[in-house]
Symmetry: C3
Subunit: 379 residues, 3 copies
């Protein structure tokens, strides 16, 4: 079975993905160094970034096949938002504070309203009313609301003209440390509990920051693919990680001139374009799961990302700002960004508590997304 091994190593889908990634990444690099038209450079870099994000996810899954479900969840939580994190960090380094903040909020909005809405719409059109009564979904909605409330504190102190308004950076750092402390606390218990859950035959996620093995497995099954050897999985992860770092820099470099030439302001670019490009892959998976009537997993896959954005990406970005030469960066959002974020958190918790969905609910979520996006068109 020597010739078939190579074939089974890379499924048809893997090979297409790899080809798209290499071609688009090389093209993005060439356009970047050739100082090509900014809109073209931006679009090619966006495609390369989405392809790389998909490959990162694929490598994490392949690694998980080898290390067991315990590790998959933790790896996914740590690396799943890696490309998005790179983009945000490069944007931060470039001083594009508005883009950074809008992308953080836009990721939450896009997942909760646009992608969950599409999942409900596609699933509901096909299967009628769909139920997802599992506790894990409810817990995710609740955690998103708590995380968003914590993340709202610096913005509230600033926009309500409190005495703390001149200490926004300090408040932001304290909030960041508190949130990363939460994440750190959850890790040992997650690993320990997972090991015992694996033995016990059932697996429930003890921490909502970490994808439950069941939903990770369901997401992975959506696309059939070959098994990778451990070395290949690790190598691919390293290669895609490094690739994502380069492409992210080119993406950010092309962002501002591209938006300027299209007459799109920074906030709208971050909130809508960067946020959707950065989450493109997991979004497709979530909608596919809904179409297969696996709503519990669809809701978990779609809501995992915004919880991680709020609880880990936002504080990492805030704490990293000092090392990136931007010590003035804080987590203060504009009042409208804050309102949009709080509305989407409340929608997430209400929709998951409701425990059922239909296509009309999905359409209403998309309508809310469209209305909010419209209100940011002017900045």
């Amino acid at each position: 079975m020597t010739p078939t091994t190579t074939a089974s190593l890379l499924s048809q889908r893997d090979r297409i993905l790899l080809a798209v990634t290499v071609i688009s990444a090389v093209a993005a690099g060439g356009l970047h160094y050739a100082h090509a038209n900014s809109v073209v450079s931006f679009v090619v870099a966006a495609v390369a970034l989405a392809a790389l994000a998909s490959l990162v996810g694929r490598s994490v899954e392949a690694l998980g096949d080898r290390l067991g479900p315990s590790a998959t969840g933790v790896l996914q939580s740590a690396l799943g938002n890696l490309p998005e994190l790179f983009v945000i960090l490069f944007a931060l380094k470039a001083g594009l504070f508005d883009v950074v903040k809008a992308t953080l909020v836009g990721s939450i909005l896009a997942n909760v309203l646009l992608i969950l809405g599409l999942a409900f719409l596609v699933g509901g059109r096909k299967h009628g009313r769909q139920r997802f009564a599992a506790d894990d979904s409810r817990m995710l909605g609740l955690m998103l609301t708590l995380a968003v409330f914590i993340l709202a504190v610096p913005s509230l102190t600033a926009s309500l003209h409190t005495p703390a308004a001149s200490h926004e950076r300090v408040v932001s750092v304290v909030v960041s440390v508190v949130m990363l402390g939460l994440f750190a606390l959850s890790l040992p218990a997650t690993l320990a509990r997972r090991a015992s859950a694996d033995q016990a035959g059932h697996s429930r996620s003890p921490s909502p920051i970490v994808a439950s093995p069941d939903s990770a497995a369901a997401a992975s099954k959506v696309a059939a693919h070959g098994e990778w050897p451990l070395a290949m999985a690790i190598g691919m992860l390293a290669a895609t990680g490094i690739g994502a770092a380069f492409v992210s820099e080119w993406f950010v470099a092309a962002l501002q001139p591209a938006m300027d030439s299209m007459g799109i302001n920074q906030v709208f670019a971050g909130l809508v374009i960067v946020a959707i490009a950065g989450n493109a892959v997991e979004n497709v998976v979530g909608i596919q799961l809904a179409a297969k009537n696996q709503m519990d997993y669809a809701v978990q896959v779609v809501l995992q990302s915004p919880v991680q954005i709020a609880l880990t990406v936002a504080p990492i970005v805030c704490l990293a700002a000092g090392f990136l030469g931007q010590p003035g960066f804080d987590l203060v959002l504009s009042p409208l960004l804050l309102a949009a974020m709080v509305m989407s958190a409340l929608v997430a918790v209400l929709v998951t508590f409701d425990g059922e969905s239909n296509w009309f609910e999905g359409a209403a979520l998309i309508a809310l997304y469209a209305a909010i996006a419209t209100s940011f068109w002017w900045g």
Copy 2:
């Protein structure tokens, strides 16, 4: 069965209603053209309007008896708020923007807090704890929140001093088109699904904008009435529709002088007086259903109206403004109106998710209504 036919055509209740309507409508017209005392004119017009609203509802039910439950829901959703819509349009034409906006919010407030509170109070006093676990109620609460969040976007952009603040009319029009698009999308599916549901013997509302046939039937049974022939139902609907248009104009004409002479400002008048007068009939039905311990139907009847106000009446009014010579009208609410609307939407969703009610909860809802109404006394 010739002499009995006429008797069975119009029940005792029908005849009283018809008499009150004709007398009060004629009196309202007379007082209007005689330039009588404005408070008297206003009160008589309000009585005529409530009677006409009741007759419109009665005609829709009679039409539904002939056309089947599929049509009843759609007709009710399209025509149920007709008298209120007329009042709002005439107020808009007269340039009473504050009255228009306050009436829109006041209708939502009155239904969610005052009427639902009275239903819980009356039902709870009589039957103790009452449960309403049906999905349809939960769905209505969720839809009201989503609709109110969409409707909140223009107000948020304006009151948070965003760059979009000078584009409020555009944002309002986009939001209106999005919301009416949602409604239009729901109609074909509703009709198709309903027909199949009727055959299948059970009927669940696929769209929350449209009353479920069960709740419509329950609401209709509250008052025993005779069956009307199709022609009579159509004729009555046309006559009451035209009557409502005339009386609405007189009502609005008397509104401002009447409020001035009583020292009541426009916002309070719209929020409390016009909103309660415009919803008087369905409110009585909702409370009657609660007293009969049919809480599921009571909650649906009471919450259907605010969902329709937010998702259809508000955008129609916004888009019609251009044709009524008021191109400057937008959906920007004052911050306090916005806060009151958001609070009542959250209360609606929490109360329906809770799935049970008692008289104390009802009393608390009424207390919240009283507190909010008080805060608008000064404008």
Copy 3:
């Protein structure tokens, strides 16, 4: 059984509590009149206050043993927050408006976020996921949200620059009368219904303001103690009540100089220090119940207090202000206090509707508390 009677009258725990109370109260008085170091005076008065609060609770329980469960709940609702009410009234009399308002909000925050968080954390660490599906918990969360929304009205009118902004005292008084009316309405039904519930063998709380007999009994069982004769219970209640009044005055007198010497502003002192000191006892009971896996009772004991603070203590304080020489006091909170209060009410309702808890949810609640407390550090 003559010698054993005295022993069984006062349990080991009773005797320790009594000794701590007498010693700390006497010491607090001595330090007050000796004009001792303000920080020492403040700490000793705080200990005395917590001990007195514990004894008041103990006396109410002992009285309840004699009068039956019907009376216990009403007594607890009327007297449970007595020491905290005294502190707030003395602070009001001293013109410390910021302390008063911050303490009201801080009590709600401390219970909903810090104490419920600790209960979830301790209980979850010991027992894994814990469920509390009872309707009484859900009802409490819902009532807290309704009470907080009512309480928010004066603040909204003031901070949104409405025409009512110059009538804040009137709005506050109307809101207070409405809320106390709600409480008064609930009393006769509570007593009557309880009597019948006692006979029927089951007991469900008809009013969320009043602790359900079951949860009161569970809370009382946490500590084993002897039975007190009626006269002793009444005498102890009177003595501790009078003692609490004195110690509260000393506590408030030491508050401002102690905070000044420690560089802590009034708002932070009220929000965090006074609020935690005033609720210390019931908090310990709530966490103990969670550790014993009695989550339903734990949630009820912890959430009862903030409902009472919002629905009875706040209006009493507002109406009493006139008699305490502070006619200018109103219920207008600073925007950040308002936001913190609304967030904690929403968290309370979501957490109770969720119906289950784990240690991570508890940790997130504590993190939110820490973030909010940080934002008030500067005032």
